[in-house]
């Protein structure tokens, strides 16, 4: 099963009915809306976020089916319904806005659900669900049969500083997925909820309560409607599509509104970590969003020990350090470790964010056990983006050509750049898994990224290790032929050094066949590109450009040389 264990959808299916009003009145229900990207990550990131906050699925919370639930397509819908016992609200959990939405501060006794869920990068917003159904009418009925309004009138869960119901200003936002409606149509939808008879005044900016009505329809992988309401050319309404019933309707009150707004992601939270703001970037730096997600999948907390054996520019470690982790990185490439200059290097990046520098060592992960003494498992998490020959070739130590080793003269030794040779991707992955098995604590997580072409079979072709189990596999397409999988593994068995060669032998299920699919991706990409029309032309243009740049550089050098010669001779004259 591609999503590994712990799939949320349909997990606790005691409530077969789609109508929320028949669900247990003792529940407090949340609607979680995700952004419509990285679809394959939603389940994994949500479950990891819950685990990180000590919220136990099955005990503390249960997932409920969406209206029109269908196991085949549910994973493409950006919604989850999560219910908690009403008795736990105000006790183990709080939903008030009072708590600081600051991840580093944590009230040890009570978990604020808003802060907890705010850590999940892909969540768009969290709504206290008042009613749901397949259609607007079913949704209204379920609100009328439920007790959310009454609870809100009582306001106990809003916190002691909250305004009383009578004085709470409000507005209703209408969110129609996959189609636009006119202002009049929005108004009409809003009027369906006038039965709530909210006493406070309507306030468009920063109301105390922002209510959300969502109309969900089937969406395609790009986030557009499968049956669009309007035709592309004239923007005329397509009657057959317009007449189709909605997939689901939801109504509720947005949580965390005053601190995070309607759209949790739009605020300056992600911006803060934005890769663009870092002084030192390299071609291999991981985009900040994926690093944030990876740190969640790896369950990285304050005080975690985190290792990246292919650290590069340390972009992933930076994100881990922002979570409060102690970070270690190794790499064989000295230039990328040292950075470009005094102001553009890894340490300056960390300083930019007020973090202490990471521990870095230049060494070779292929021989980890020769660089580091035997030690007890030490790391809570290993998060990495291994080199796979597309942007940066993997190297390991050793002479490039077998048998051809010239001794290095002593006087050259300190500055000598040790030769390295290509390190097949299949070996990179095997060594990575083995080091993880050796150095992770039990229950610790390995999260890595692996590129794959279309012929990749998750069941057969992912690398394995006896001590590790696959928890999640999240696929991200990158263009038409290439994709990238973020794999999360967990250590479940203690490492046995005597079994080292056995472990390494069994990494690839189909032996060399699987390994081949991962290796040589650069060559395969090149092959694929060559077959495309226009390749020859583009290659010729690129060659010309390279020549022109080279010529320009040479010219500049000559001119500079001539100038300094001139000034030197002038100085000599004086």
């Amino acid at each position: 099963m591609p999503h590994g264990s712990g799939s949320a959808v349909g997990a606790d299916d005691n409530h077969a009915s789609n109508n929320m009003s028949s669900s247990n009145a003792e529940e407090y229900v949340l609607l979680i809306e995700f952004v419509h990207k990285h679809l394959d990550f939603h389940n994994a990131e949500l479950l990891s976020t819950l685990e990180l906050n000590g919220i136990i699925q099955g005990t503390d919370c249960h997932f409920r089916p969406l209206p029109n639930a269908n196991p085949l397509s549910d994973s493409t819908r950006p919604f989850y319904i999560l219910s908690l016992p009403w008795s736990s609200i105000g006790c183990k959990f709080s939903v008030s806005d009072e708590h600081d939405i600051d991840e580093s501060k944590g009230n040890a006794k009570q978990i604020n659900l808003v802060s907890a869920l705010a850590r999940c990068t892909l969540i768009r917003s969290v709504v206290e669900l008042w009613g749901t159904g397949r259609t607007m009418d079913e949704c209204v009925e379920s609100i009328q049969n439920g007790n959310a309004l009454r609870r809100h009138q009582e306001g106990k869960h809003l916190g002691s500083d909250a305004k009383v119901f009578k004085e709470r200003s409000w507005k209703i936002t209408v969110h129609t997925l996959g189609g636009t409606y006119t202002r009049e149509e929005h108004s009409e939808m809003r009027s369906k909820f006038s039965f709530l008879e909210l006493p406070g005044r309507v306030k468009m900016r920063d109301p105390d309560d922002e209510y959300l009505f969502v109309r969900e329809v089937e969406l395609d992988s790009q986030g557009g409607a499968v049956y669009p309401r309007h035709s592309g050319v004239n923007r005329e309404i397509i009657p057959e599509h317009d007449a189709r019933p909605s997939l689901a309707c939801y109504f509720g009150r947005i949580l965390g509104n005053s601190k995070l707004g309607r759209n949790w992601r739009g605020s300056n939270r992600l911006e803060q970590y934005s890769l663009k703001k870092r002084a030192y970037l390299g071609p291999t730096s991981m985009d900040s969003e994926l690093s944030l997600i990876m740190t969640n999948l790896a369950l990285i907390r304050k005080g975690s020990m985190v290792f990246d054996p292919f650290v590069g520019t340390a972009s992933i470690l930076l994100t881990a350090a922002l979570r409060g982790a102690y970070v270690f990185g190794t790499d064989i490439d000295l230039r990328v470790l040292r950075g470009r200059s005094e102001d553009e290097n890894i340490a300056s990046n960390f300083k930019q964010y007020g973090l202490r520098p990471p521990e870095l060592v230049r060494c070779d992960n292929a021989i980890y056990h020769r660089h580091f003494r035997d030690h007890l498992p030490m790391f809570d998490a290993i998060v990495t983006d291994p080199p796979y020959g597309i942007r940066a070739g993997a190297k390991k130590s050793g002479a490039r050509k077998e048998g051809e080793v010239r001794p290095i003269l002593d006087e050259h030794r300190y500055d000598h750049v040790a030769q390295t040779r290509p390190y097949a991707v299949s070996d990179v992955m095997a060594d990575l898994l083995n080091v993880a098995a050796m150095t992770l604590k039990m229950g610790g997580r390995l999260v890595y990224v692996i590129p794959s072409m279309l012929d990749f079979d998750e069941e057969q072709d992912l690398p394995r290790h006896d001590c590790l189990r696959i928890v999640y596999v999240c696929f991200q397409p990158l263009g038409t032929e290439l994709g990238r999988r973020t794999v999360t593994m967990e250590k479940i068995k203690e490492y046995d050094e005597s079994k080292r060669s056995l472990y390494l032998k069994d990494v690839w299920l189909n032996g060399s066949e699987s390994a081949e699919k991962v290796a040589n991706i650069r060559d395969r990409l090149l092959e694929a590109a060559k077959k495309k029309p226009g390749y020859e032309e583009k290659a010729a243009i690129r060659k010309q450009k390279r020549r022109a740049t080279k010529e320009a550089k040479k010219k500049a050098k000559r001119v500079a040389g001539a100038q300094s010669a001139n000034s030197a001779s002038q100085a000599g004259d004086e």
């Binding site: 005080g303 040292r338 230049r362 060494c363 003494r373 001794p407 290095i408």
Partner: protein, 133 residues
């Protein structure tokens, strides 16, 4: 490079089995205080090779101003019960020695072969040249 890292590094010169611990020859050392995390230090302690840590602290001490705090003479890092009873001052001292001292420039020397691994900008370079592998 902090002493925590040094505690795990060894020499990988061909043929040597006694490449641990590496002797520190310091040129530039930097000290930067940080808040001690008791739980974290105690969790780390069982993994630390204590004699190597003591030796490393002694080697760096001449370069530290103010000097490093004294570490307890006898300490069995694997003794969880004993560790729990360590007072805050001792835990603070351990934290300081493990996390607050940086070797910025210097050498890590293999105790067996004498091979010197350079440390520049706080990053130790442990890669052997191709004629040593």
């Amino acid at each position: 490079m902090r002493l925590l890292t040094h505690n795990f590094l060894k020499s990988n010169v061909r043929g040597t089995e006694n490449g641990y611990p590496l002797t520190i020859e310091a040129t530039t050392v930097r000290c930067e205080e940080s808040p001690a995390d008791r739980e974290f230090v105690l969790g780390l302690l069982p993994k630390v090779n204590y004699p190597a840590l003591q030796a490393a602290a002694r080697q760096l001490n001449p370069h530290c101003d103010p000097p490093l705090p004294d570490l307890p003479e006898d300490l069995d890092p694997s003794d969880a019960g004993g560790n729990e009873r360590l007072d805050d001052a001792t835990v603070g001292a351990l934290h300081r020695v493990l996390f607050d001292v940086y070797l910025v420039e210097g050498w890590l020397v293999c105790p067996d072969t004498g091979r010197k691994f350079p440390v520049k900008d706080g990053i130790p370079n442990m890669i052997l040249h191709e004629d040593e592998i």
